[in-house]
Amino acid sequence: MATAEVIPLTLPPLPEGWNAEKDFKILGTLSNATQRNIEPVGPHFLAHARRKRHRRTFSEDERIQAQERVKKVEEEEDNEISEPEDPIMLSRDAKDWKGQDHYAVLGLSKYRYRATPEQIKRAHRKKVLRHHPDKKAASGQDDENDNFFKCIQKATEILLDPAKRRQFDSVDEAANVDPPSKKQLSKGNFYKLWNPVFESEARFSKIQFVPMLGDESSSKEEVEAFYNFWYNFDSWRSFEYQDEDVPDDNENRDQKRHIERKNANARRKKKTEDTARLRRLVDDALAVDERIKKFRKEERAGKDKRRLEKEAEAKRLAGEKEKARLEEERLKKESEETAKAEREQNKKAKEAAKNAAKKNKRVLKSSVKDVNYFSKSGEASAAQVDAVLDDVELIMNKISNEELASLATRLTGMDKDAAAIKTIYATAARKLIEEGKLREAEIKTFF
């Protein structure tokens, strides 16, 4: 096609960093082609043929070679009937169609409920080609009343009608697989013996994906899901196929109703029996399923293990708690001891300070005594003594122990120099006044 097709979509931008020598990169080659026949018709083919032939003439060999490569679109028709036809079946009376095995009639015994509609159609055609009454008549082998041909038609009618086919499949004994006997099971082979049973029963399930038995490596979940499913099996199996014929004349209405009721009851009874049968079947399988025992044992072992673990854990926790308690106690004792020591030390220091202060106070008191209480002449008057001692007392009480100590030291060095001592006191007093701890008027003797 020479004309361009315009596509209203946008090309993506060149990714960042894309680079190639001549602005293209080859990343791969095309996948292999399929050889097919093109139909040799129409003007476009003729143009193709002209190009391809190019005035060449092809040979028979080339024809064969080319045809070998080509992908076939038509299936080969095979008219072979694979199953041998039982002479008893061939001479069946078509009227007894309910008793006939429809799959066997069509040569589908191997497939039964597994046969696809296409298979049934093909099987039907093969049978028709062989058994058509017009063919039989033409070759002089007259089948009385076209009996087998009618059987074929009936079988096809039933098997190609989904509802009718289900009714027949419901009672298709030949598709059943009997559960294994105890004797068979005693040799083992649980899975091999039970699997076909469940596979065949699965055909009745309304739900499409039916869990299968599995094997010894199936997980507990899988096995549980399996038995769960099969104990709650939702089956479409029904039993109308085995109904007694209802007379279709209008004469005997009561008789008709009677048979209809009988049929309904029979269907219900069979359905109940079938449900019970399946339940028993699952019970039987469950009873001998080694995996169940295995899982129980594992569960028990699991329980013990969990108990031991729990105990060990409790022990560990208790030990840890005790350790923590001891540690706490130790810390408490330790801190109590230090506190006591500290207290004692404090006491001693306080006592020492007290003693020092006492001593210093004595120094202060004797310092004024030594200079005769600043008396210039002889004995100081009692008033003078009291006044000076009052002032000393005043100062002593207003200063800290440290100031007291330094005051004492300073006074000790003054060696009865009254003036110097007085100055020292005056200085101390002034300092107190400055600090606002003392009023000038309170001091009577130092200034």
Binding site: M1, A2, T3, A4, E5, I7, L9, T10, L11, P12, P13, L14, W18, A20, K22, D23, F24, K25, I26, L27, G28, T29, L30, S31, N32, A33, T34, Q35, R36, N37, I38, E39, P40, V41, G42, P43, H44, F45, L46, H48, A49, R50, K52, R53, F58, E62, R63, A66, V70, V73, E74, N79, K121, H124, R125, V128, L129, H132, D134, A138
Partner: protein
């Protein structure tokens, strides 16, 4: 024995013949290039493939069909599928009400009184075919005023070499040189494609040929005007006869209600019911009511009754499903989905689907039963809305489905009658027809339009899967509004069917909680899951950079694929000089990699 002397190419006067089990048609392509189906002397374009002998006189077509009532054993019908077949592998069912097929050596024959005053003679199916084709040739020659001596004849897609050979020699004995046998569905497709308004596009076509006693469905890839059959499905027990049976049973029951006699048990009664019932069925394709009138149906009782279309469609529901099943089966066999028979390419954003205008899909309904309106409407609901269902009731300009095969054959006849036989043989040789086809689509990555702005680039096909090689396609793409450097990434892609479960919509309460039954039904339908096609890149082939492309301009990509799967790619901005051109080697071929 050949009638008339051997002729050489220049003297072929060829028609197209569709030779069916039920009906045959003849068509001719005039000098104006238009194919027309020719009416025979009785005015029939669908000529029943039936011959009947009464007192040594041969009746053909509709006249012979009428003899099925009075003279069934000397009337030969439904014989086409016996030609070239072994007696053991034929199904005699369709002939139950006419001459029965018999074994003659290993072939098939009919025992009929074809000459006056004589006992029955055994006439082989080859001879019957010759006689039938001779009558067709005569009708065409009379109409065209010139002796026809060659034809293109349609055959089923699964006809064997033996069947083809038998047809060719039967035709030769009738004085018809078979220039070529063409497959029925391909001829039918060609009848549509030959219309002047048709443009050559790549498309997938389903041809459903719904006949009288069998039906066939084919899936055909049409690529560049060349056709490849991808798959076929056949049902030899499904056709208009099944629908006739519905009508017969219906009227028989009506009759029984009144007269307590089953008219089907009387051979002549059944033959009358079949003939008239078929006419009633055809009438129901046009009208909504049809009447059946039969004089002396059985025991001398006249019968008249009416049926309406709704009733008929109800009764025929199961048969209609068989037809649609057959068609779906063919689509499945081709490894496709009904969604593939569709002209919409689904992009990953379901919001914006765009239609590749040059790509379309069709379901062509051919064969007489395709006139049935319900069949077309059933197909309409199976295939996507964009798929054209080419049938009279669904497509206004549809061709007559009964004519298609003959028209297609006539078109092919006009194309090749210039050539001599040897030349034609060589052109349809497998060395020419067996061709490699792409096993994956080839495409480029493009930005999909999306409500959320530009998304990551997606694969979009540019050459479809199953395209016959060599092939060349030219496509143009947009460049973003800002222009600049763009990337052309050529790759193979595969399509996938994605199923989207719809998000349950919260109940709308706009009309004050008042919902009527209808709207509830509708919302139920909306819950259905959506299936759509999504393309995924499966294999990168090459990347090309186009630098400094002007904003708003277009980029043209030309891909050329050789028969050996080597390919050449050219990409350039339209209006600019230069561009990038390179070649990719065929797989498993080593070379220096240069062009």
């Amino acid at each position: 024995m050949s009638e008339g002397p051997a002729v050489n190419a220049a003297e072929w006067f060829a028609i197209g013949i569709s030779f069916g089990n039920s009906n045959s048609s003849i068509a001719y392509t005039g000098p104006d290039g238009k194919a027309e189906v020719i009416a025979n002397e009785e005015g029939d374009r669908q000529i029943p493939s039936i011959l009947s002998y009464v007192d040594g006189e041969e009746f053909h077509g509709t006249q012979a069909k009428l003899q099925l009532i009075r003279n069934p054993r000397d009337t030969v019908a439904y014989f086409r599928d016996y030609l070239g077949k072994d007696y053991t592998s034929i199904d005699p069912t369709p002939c139950h009400q006419s001459a029965h097929p018999q074994q003659s050596d290993s072939a098939v024959a009919f025992s009929i009184h074809d000459a006056n005053d004589e006992g029955p003679s055994s006439i082989t199916v080859s001879e019957i075919t010759t006689r039938h084709l001779r009558r067709l040739k005569q009708s065409a020659s009379d109409f065209l005023g010139k002796a026809v001596n060659a034809a293109v004849i349609t055959v089923p897609t699964n006809s064997s070499a033996a069947q083809r050979g038998a047809l060719i020699s039967s035709a030769k004995r009738a004085g018809i040189e078979v220039l070529q046998l063409v497959h029925e569905p391909v001829a039918e497709l060609m009848a549509y494609d030959a219309r002047p308004e048709t443009v050559v596009v790549d498309k997938l076509v389903v041809v459903a040929d719904l006949g009288g006693t069998r039906s066939d469905a084919s899936v055909i890839a049409s690529r560049g005007g060349m056709y490849t059959i991808l798959a076929t499905a056949h049902d030899y027990e499904l056709g208009g006869a099944n629908l006739d049976q519905i009508i017969i049973d219906h009227f028989a029951k009506e009759f029984m209600k009144k007269h307590q006699i089953d008219p089907r048990e009387n051979e002549r009664g059944l033959a009358k019911l079949k003939l008239e019932g078929e006419a009633t069925k055809k009438a129901l394709s046009l009208g909504t009511n049809a009447t059946l009138n039969i004089e002396s149906l059985t025991n001398g009782i006249d019968f008249s009754s009416t049926i309406n279309r709704t009733r008929y469609e109800l009764l025929a529901g199961k048969v209609f499903s068989q037809f649609t099943n057959l068609i779906e089966q063919a689509v499945k066999k081709a490894g496709l989905d009904v969604l593939d028979i569709n002209e919409v390419c689904g992009l990953s954003q379901a919001v914006h689907c765009y239609t590749r205008k040059t790509h379309e899909s069709q379901v062509i309904l051919s064969g007489g039963s395709s006139h049935t309106p319900k069949l077309a409407s059933r197909l309409q609901s199976i295939f996507p809305v964009t798929t054209k269902i080419l049938a009279p009731s669904t497509f206004p300009t549809a061709l007559n489905p009964s004519d298609l095969a003959a028209r297609g054959a006539a078109i092919q006849a006009s194309l090749i009658q210039e050539f001599d036989k040897e030349d034609i043989e060589q052109s349809i040789h497998p060395m020419v027809t067996v061709t490699p086809h792409l096993s994956n689509a080839i495409g480029v990555r493009l930005l999909s339009p999306s409500v959320l702005g530009e998304s990551s680039p997606d694969f979009q096909p540019l050459i479809d899967v199953e395209t016959a090689l060599p092939a060349r396609r030219v496509t143009q793409y947009r460049v973003s509004n800002t222009g600049g450097d763009v990337l052309v990434r050529v790759c193979e892609g595969v399509r996938e069917i994605k199923t989207i479960k719809p998000i349950p919509k919260p109940k709308e309460d706009t009309n004050g909680g008042e919902t009527d039954a209808d709207s509830e039904l509708e919302s139920d339908e909306e819950e259905e899951e959506i299936r759509q096609i999504v393309w995924n890149e499966s294999r990168p082939i090459a990347e090309i950079a186009l630098k400094d492309v002007k904003s708003g301009s277009k980029v043209e990509v030309v891909v050329n694929i050789n028969s050996d799967l080597g390919l050449q790619v050219t990409a350039r901005a339209i209006g600019s000089r230069g561009g990038v051109r390179f070649a990719v080697d065929a797989p498993n071929v080593t070379s220096d990699g240069s062009i």
